[in-house]
């Protein structure tokens, strides 16, 4: 009945994955402690920032899903909707935003390829176009105000202002990030390790672009 016990002997790590991967996520990163146990600076893999950004985008999706749901329910519930025509400048703004996403992609890929000058140049273009988009949105708002259509005029105008403002606020956050990258562009160009900052900002920016397309379609169809 008694079990014979041998003293524990050190063995090679018996983990199912011997390579340091943790089952999911990015596997190429060295967390700085494979085997050897010397103290090192803390290494957070690039994948972590991407995960974080994706999770942030999930939250933003839920926010706009709630707004969409509110709008669909409201429109279906009562006859006093009061449709409004969209200002035409919105389509120009859409083009500007799409162009800015394209510019950001050029910038990002230039950085990956090591072309520092092109990286910076396309970055400036992106930032300029982003600011132009916000300006265009404000022009749209002023056009509506000139028509006498304000936030509380009717239900459709409430949702129009709500959705465009919510998107605009989030895009402003992206623009602030762009300003940060522009300010730090020289350091970013030098250190390939910092590319992840540009990558996650680009992810956010493209998402905002896609979100705007979705909102435009929603407003066109349901407003």
């Amino acid at each position: 009945m008694a079990t014979v016990l041998t003293p524990p002997t050190p063995t090679i790590p018996a983990g199912a994955n011997g390579s340091g991967r943790n089952g999911s996520g990015f596997g190429g990163g060295d967390f700085g402690g494979r085997g050897g146990q010397e103290p090192r600076g803390r290494a957070v893999p690039a994948q972590t920032y991407r995960t974080g950004m994706w999770m942030g985008l999930v939250a933003i999706v839920m926010l706009f899903a709630a707004f969409t749901s509110a709008m669909v329910v409201r429109k279906g519930a009562a006859p006093d909707w009061g449709s409004m025509a969209l200002p035409r400048i919105l389509y120009l703004n859409t083009g500007i935003l799409l162009a800015s996403s394209l510019a950001f992609e050029f910038s990002r890929r230039s950085l990956a390829a090591g072309w520092a000058d092109r990286f910076k140049a396309w970055l400036y273009v992106t930032t300029f176009l982003g600011v132009a988009f916000i300006g265009g949105q404000l022009v749209a708002w002023r056009e509506l105000a000139a028509r006498g259509v304000y936030l509380a005029t009717n239900h459709s105008s409430s949702f129009f202002y709500l959705l465009t403002a919510a998107h605009g606020v989030h895009l402003l956050g992206g623009i602030i990030a762009l300003f940060y990258i522009v300010a730090r562009a020289p350091q970013l160009a030098d250190r390939i390790k910092r590319r992840v900052v540009v990558d996650v900002t680009a992810l956010y920016w493209h998402f905002m672009d896609g979100l705007w397309i979705y909102l435009l379609i929603l407003l066109t169809v349901r407003l």
């Binding site: 524990p8 290494a43 709630a66």
Partner: protein, 598 residues
């Protein structure tokens, strides 16, 4: 692609912080932030309990003069005599503080922040700066909420659920519904932001920062619970934020998302709003509100699993089932929000659908309950205070959960909706079971967090007084509810069908039990604060537990593992493994087991 990714790590040089502000105020250290959240929740629960004591006092002795209340709010309690409106204000703040700043803060942000990185073998959370911002954002939300006590109009009174149109029409609705309600929305919106940032931190950390060998199926159930809770928070708080924005716009922007036409409030016709839907608020709120209660309970479930296993000296019964059950609870939790709205006039078919989904949640909950019992069965129980609270959690979760099955059925819910039956139900699961999870976590991790042991004798006295006390307070509520005792009434002597000796006597009994139980919490507070400074020093692993936090000193160094990176070889619940040297195997142990043992 993999090669270039390998070069794009961001390397942070992690050095110990210096200076008081960096070490204790704006710390980036998840351990400090976890403690900050914990003490924020503690402050919040003290305020919340004081409010509940005031409420129970007024319910039974409505003509009592509480003199200092007059100083706090001359309008709400002139001469210390609480007005019905002020009662509702206290009730609103009680609910809001408890649900948001206690039940969402301590189990997830408090213990989760402190323990999760260590349990997965990481040095810190994925985004320490964001973590620090999350805490201080939450703190600002807390301050904004407390500020409503001190404004002229007083705190809002539309309940923690803040139903429209009362919460949407503004100061025309009376006391508390002016600036107080607006500040409530601002506070909750700020809280949402802090929670969302925290949630994404938890998810990124759990997915990407696990130590070598720490596969998903070796994670302690606490980590799984915090991870699933973070997913729920990420998906639900954004919806509450959206609802809050719409409500705010109704109040200050003149919109009518939630305000219907034809309202007459305080003898005034509300003519500048029409066409909104109060039901829309309910849908949006409860779409958040139901996952919220699972956010409140899941960390407690994880902690209970962990603690029961540790102190039974047995592996958790059905580890994978426990994970799937938590996932199922989280997933189903998003499909049941309509059970808060059975009496809102919804189609009976919708009611049927929500009812079936709600009862379905009973299945994974039951799986977890039986697994806890299976863990205890045949174990060599060590009845420490943490263990007692964990067992208490199981008891209270069953008691509170069973009444949920009644409420889940529309025909049964029809007479007991908005009665004390519901109040008893949610207090047992949230107000007690979840709190017991926090107590269990406190006694369990206090040695690690503060390097000292809490007093076990005081702990056990506190446990028994609280355990008996809460049953005395909340069980009678089920009878009262079935008898028709409506909730959210400030007192009952002026209501014909409630002014009976039976009902009043039960309420008196509950109030006295509440005062005694609230008093018993002073024992906990005394134990906590005394032990902080003068408790006996704690060893590295006083409980002989297996997870990684017990491999490092108590309290841990700033970077947790002293610059080393742990390598994990074992699952989290290897207790009583035949052939092992001791009755537990640490997760990072390199011990190999001899075959042939029993």
């Amino acid at each position: 692609m993999a090669e270039s990714q390998a070069h794009t790590e961001a390397v942070h040089h992690h050095t110990a912080p210096t200076g008081f502000i960096r070490k204790y105020i704006f710390s980036l250290d998840h351990k400090v932030i976890g403690k900050q959240y914990y003490f924020l929740a503690l402050a919040s629960v003290v305020v919340g309990i004081v409010l509940s004591v005031l409420m129970r006092l007024h319910m039974v002795w409505p003509n009592a003069h509480i003199l200092w209340l007059d100083k706090l709010s001359p309008v709400g309690a002139p001469g210390g005599l609480m007005t019905p409106e002020y009662y509702l204000s206290l009730m609103t703040l009680h609910g809001t503080l408890m649900v948001f700043f206690v039940l969402t803060t301590a189990p997830q942000s408090g213990f989760g922040n402190y323990v999760l990185p260590i349990q997965i073998g990481a040095e810190d959370m994925a985004f320490p700066t964001l973590n620090m911002l999350s805490f201080w954002t939450t703190f600002v939300g807390f301050v904004v909420l407390l500020a409503t006590f001190f404004i002229t109009d007083g705190p809002p009174l539309s309940g923690w659920t803040s139903y429209a149109p009362l919460s949407a029409v503004g100061s025309v609705a009376g006391p508390g519904e002016g600036l107080g309600q607006t500040l409530w929305i601002v506070s909750i919106a700020i809280f949402c932001a802090g929670s969302l940032l925290g949630a994404l931190n938890f998810i990124a950390t759990t997915l990407d920062l696990r130590a070598k060998g720490m596969t998903l199926t070796r994670l302690p159930l606490t980590v799984w619970a915090w991870f699933i809770t973070a997913v729920l928070a990420l998906l639900s708080f954004a919806v509450l934020f959206a609802a809050g924005v719409l409500l705010f716009l109704d109040r200050v922007g003149g919109t009518s998302f939630f305000i219907p036409g034809g309202l007459i409030i305080s003898d005034k016709i509300i003519s500048n709003h029409n066409g909104g839907s109060p039901l829309l608020w309910q849908h949006l709120f409860w779409f958040f509100g139901h996952p919220e209660v699972y956010i409140a309970i899941l960390p407690g479930m994880g902690m209970t699993s962990h603690i029961l296993s540790t102190f039974s000296r047995k592996p958790i019964f059905g580890y994978k089932a426990m994970i799937y059950a938590m996932m199922a609870i989280g997933f189903l939790g998003f499909m049941v929000w309509g059970h808060h709205m059975f009496l809102s006039g919804m189609s009976p078919y919708s009611g049927f659908a929500f009812s079936v989904m709600t009862m379905a949640i009973g299945v994974p909950s039951a799986i977890k309950t039986f697994n806890w019992l299976g863990t205890l069965w045949g174990g060599r129980l060590r009845l420490t205070t943490a263990m007692l609270f964990a067992i208490g959690f199981v008891s209270l979760f069953v008691s509170g959960g069973l009444s949920g099955l009644f409420l889940a059925q529309p025909p049964v819910d029809t007479p007991i909706h908005a009665t004390y039956f519901v109040v008893g139900h949610f207090h047992l699961v949230m107000g007690v079971a979840a709190i017991f999870g926090m107590f269990a976590g406190t006694f369990f991790w206090f040695p690690k967090m503060f390097g000292r042991m809490m007093n076990e004798t005081l702990g056990k006295i506190h446990f028994w007084l609280t355990f008996v006390g809460v049953y005395c307070i909340f069980m009678p509520m089920h009878f009262l509810g079935v008898e028709g005792n409506v909730r959210r009434y400030s007192q009952f002597t002026e209501v014909n069908f409630l002014n009976t000796p039976h009902i009043i006597n039960l309420h008196t009994f509950m109030s006295i039990a509440a005062f005694v139980t609230a008093g018993a919490q002073l024992i906990f507070l005394a134990n906590l604060f005394y032990s902080l400074f003068w408790g006996p020093k704690a060893a590295e692993n006083p409980w002989e537990a297996t997870s990684l936090e017990w491999t490092i000193p108590s309290p841990p160094p700033f970077d947790n593992f002293g610059g080393k990176h742990p390598v994990v070889h074992h699952g989290a619940y290897e207790f009583g493994v035949p052939g092992a040297a001791q009755d537990y195997i640490m997760q990072d142990s390199t011990e190999t087991i001899v075959a042939g043992g029993h």
